[in-house]
C-alpha cells in the first residue's frame, strides 16, 4: 500500500529546480504531485511520479542525487474536521508525522504522509480507522 516517493537534493540558487523537471520531462515522466522543503541554503524536492524506477534512473544518469522513500496515501474526508479525525488515528497508533503534502488529482482530498515507521504504520493505521489508498488505486485515479 505504500507509495514510492523520490527525494532530490537541491542547492538554493536560481535554476536548480528546473534541472530535475527538465530531465523528467525529456524522459516523458508524468509528475503526479510534489512538495518542496527548504532551508536558507538547500532544499529537498519530493516527487511522486508514474514510473518511479524509470524516473530515478533518468535523474541519476544526469547526476541528480535521488533518495527513495515510502509514504502513505490517505483519503481525508472532505469536510470540516476531516483531517483532525485522520490525525486522531495517527495519534492513537502512536505514530509521528515527519511531513505531509497533498496529492492533487482526482475528486478526493488525498494527503501523502511521511511517518516514522511506514511498515508499522501500514499495519496498524487501518485498525485505527485511517483510510489508506493503495498505490495501484492512486495511480489509477490519475489515468487520463
Amino acid at each position: 500500500m505504500k507509495i514510492r516517493q523520490l527525494s532530490l537534493f537541491l542547492e538554493n540558487r536560481p535554476g536548480q529546480l528546473r534541472i530535475p523537471c527538465k530531465i523528467l520531462g525529456e524522459a516523458g515522466i508524468d509528475v503526479l504531485t510534489m512538495s518542496l522543503a527548504d532551508t536558507q541554503q538547500f532544499g529537498i524536492l519530493r516527487l511522486v511520479v508514474k514510473d518511479w524506477e524509470k524516473a530515478k534512473a533518468a535523474l541519476e544518469a544526469q547526476g541528480v542525487v535521488v533518495n527513495v522513500t515510502e509514504v502513505l496515501a490517505v483519503d481525508v474526508p472532505d469536510r470540516p474536521g476531516g483531517l483532525a479525525q485522520v490525525l486522531e488515528g495517527f495519534e492513537k497508533a502512536n505514530l509521528g508525522v515527519e511531513y505531509m503534502y497533498p496529492f492533487a488529482r482526482g475528486p478526493y482530498a488525498t494527503l501523502l504522509f511521511r511517518v516514522e515507521d511506514p511498515d508499522r504504520a501500514e499495519r496498524i493505521l487501518a485498525e485505527h480507522g485511517v483510510p489508506l489508498v493503495p498505490a495501484a488505486e492512486l495511480l489509477a485515479r490519475t489515468a487520463r
Binding site: 532551508t39 538547500f42 529537498i44 542525487v65 535521488v66 533518495n67 522513500t69 515527519e98 511521511r114
Partner: protein, 439 residues
C-alpha cells in the same frame, strides 16, 4: 594624516654599515651552529654533512646548512628542538591559531629581552614615543601577538592598555576614555574597530588614535588606505612568526617601502619554493630565516612558506636591514582567516570526524566588509543524502561544530549537490581566496 614625526632609531644596531653587519652575522651564525649541536635533529644533519662552526667563515656558508620545516617542529613535539636545559626556559608560546596540532616555541630570559627590543624597534620606527598610550587588541595567550607587543611597548617606555580581543564597542570606549594614540591588532580588526566607531557617530578627527601597528595576517595597500581613512591614523605593517621569535622579525619605518628585517638577529633568504635556489632581490619567493641570537630554540634556514621579495637598497631612514615586501601569498595552501592559520587538511579532518569519510569540499574566503568570511562548500555524497530535513540540517550543524573544534574559528558550511565542485586534473582545488592580497 594627523601625524608627522621624526625618524628615530630604538638602538644603533638597526643602522650598522652592511659590511659590519655581515661580519657580525658570520660570527653569530658560527655561534648558532655550535648551539644547535645540542639539538639531536641538527647534530645528526650537521655531522653527516661534515659541518661545524669552524666551517662557517662567512654568511655565504649558510648554504651548507640544512633547511628546517614546520613538520620538524611537529615531529619533535612538544619541545624536542630545545637547545638549552628545560630549567632555562622562561616562556613558552604556541603557533597562532591551529588548535588541532599546535607547535610550541620556547624563550630564555635573554630571548624575551631580545624579542621585546625587536618589537620596540618597529614601534619606534612607526612613531611610538614613551609618552604614548597603546591599545592592544591582540589576543593574549599562546599566540605571540599579545604578549609580544605588550613587552615591546613597555620596552619603549609607553603605557599599555592590554584590552585583548572581543567586544568591539567596549574597545572603542576604552580607546576614547583612556585617550590611546596607538592601536595594535590585526589589520582587519582595526578596520572593524573603525567601522564600529563610525557607527557610534565618531568622526576620524574625534578618535584619539594617531597611528597603528598591524600584523599577524596578510593585507593590502587598499586595506591600509581604508583603515587610515576610517580611523584617521597612519598605519604601519609588521611581520613575524612564532617559530622565529614572533612579531618583530621585520617592520616598516616611516617611509613604508618594505619592512626592515632585524638582520643582526635573523639571516633572511628568498628562495624558489620548488628548487630552493636563491632568488635575486625583487623576485618573489619563499622567505627562509635563520636565527642568529636565539638561545632556547635556534632554527636553521626555517622555511616560512610566506612568499615575498627582498630589497637591500639603502633606505632614507638609515636602517640598513633588508626590506621585505608585503607577504604576497603562501607556498603551501595555508589560509589565514581572521588572523588564524587554517590548513585545508584541518577541514578534511573535521569532515572526517563529522561524517566518517572526506567528501569533496572547497573553502572560499572573502572579505566583504572588515572581517574575513570563510565558507566551506561540502558535496553531499549520495549515500549521505536523507529525505528528512532535520537529518540534513543536523549533518550541516555537525560539520559546522567539527570545523570550529578543529580550527578554532567559525566558518559557514554550505551543502552542495554531488559532482558540482570543480575537479582539477592534478592537485584538487581546495581554496578560493577572493581577498585581494597582491596590492
Amino acid at each position: 594624516m594627523k601625524l608627522l614625526f621624526e625618524n628615530r632609531l630604538f638602538e644603533p644596531a638597526e643602522a650598522l654599515p652592511r659590511d659590519t653587519l655581515r661580519a657580525l652575522q658570520a660570527e653569530r651564525l658560527a655561534a648558532t651552529v655550535d648551539r644547535v649541536l645540542k639539538v639531536p635533529l641538527y647534530r645528526d644533519a650537521l655531522r653527516s654533512g661534515g659541518v661545524s662552526s669552524r666551517s662557517i667563515r662567512s654568511v655565504d656558508d649558510l648554504r651548507r646548512l640544512p633547511f628546517t620545516a614546520k613538520e620538524d617542529l611537529r615531529q619533535h613535539y612538544p619541545l624536542g628542538l630545545l637547545a638549552v636545559p628545560r630549567a632555562e626556559v622562561a616562556r613558552i608560546h604556541g603557533s597562532s591559531g591551529t588548535t588541532g596540532r599546535p607547535t610550541f616555541v620556547a624563550y630564555t630570559r635573554r630571548d624575551l629581552d631580545t624579542w621585546a627590543s625587536l618589537v620596540a624597534r618597529f614601534l619606534t620606527a612607526g612613531g611610538l614615543m614613551p609618552e604614548h598610550t597603546v591599545h592592544v587588541a591582540f589576543g593574549y595567550g599562546l599566540f605571540t601577538g599579545g604578549f609580544g607587543l605588550h613587552y615591546g611597548i613597555e620596552k619603549v617606555g609607553a603605557a599599555v592598555v592590554p584590552a585583548a580581543g572581543g567586544n568591539t564597542p567596549r574597545q572603542v570606549q576604552l580607546i576614547q576614555d583612556l585617550g590611546a594614540q596607538v592601536l595594535v591588532c590585526t589589520p582587519s580588526y582595526a578596520l572593524h574597530i573603525g567601522e564600529v566607531a563610525r557607527a557610534q557617530g565618531l568622526s576620524p578627527e574625534e578618535i584619539t588614535l594617531r597611528f597603528g601597528h598591524f600584523g599577524a595576517e596578510p593585507w593590502t595597500e587598499e586595506l591600509r588606505d581604508e583603515i587610515e581613512r576610517t580611523l584617521g591614523i597612519m598605519a604601519f605593517n609588521n611581520y613575524g612568526l612564532s617559530e622565529i621569535i614572533g612579531p618583530g622579525v621585520s617592520g616598516e619605518c616611516l617611509h613604508r617601502n618594505g619592512m626592515h628585517v632585524a638582520e643582526d638577529h635573523f639571516l633572511v633568504e628568498c628562495v624558489d619554493p620548488e628548487t630552493l635556489e636563491p632568488l635575486k632581490d625583487g623576485e618573489v619567493g619563499e622567505l627562509v630565516f635563520t636565527t642568529l641570537t636565539k638561545e632556547a630554540m635556534p632554527l636553521l634556514r626555517y622555511r616560512t612558506r610566506d612568499l615575498a621579495s627582498l630589497d637591500r637598497s639603502p633606505c632614507p631612514c638609515g636602517r640598513t636591514g633588508a626590506r621585505m615586501s608585503r607577504v604576497r601569498g603562501r607556498s603551501d595552501d595555508m589560509l589565514i582567516v581572521r588572523g588564524v592559520n587554517v590548513f585545508p587538511s584541518q577541514i578534511e579532518e573535521a569532515l572526517l570526524r563529522a561524517e566518517g569519510t572526506a567528501p569533496h569540499y572547497l573553502i572560499e574566503v572573502s572579505r566583504p566588509g572588515a572581517l574575513d568570511e570563510a565558507v566551506v562548500k561540502v558535496e553531499v555524497r549520495p549515500g549521505d543524502f536523507r529525505d528528512e530535513m532535520r537529518q540534513m540540517v543536523e549533518l550541516r550543524d555537525r560539520i559546522d561544530r567539527e570545523i570550529h573544534a578543529v580550527t578554532g574559528i567559525r566558518m559557514t558550511v554550505e551543502l552542495v549537490a554531488p559532482n558540482t565542485l570543480e575537479r582539477s586534473t592534478g592537485k584538487a582545488k581546495r581554496v578560493l581566496d577572493h581577498r585581494k592580497l597582491s596590492g
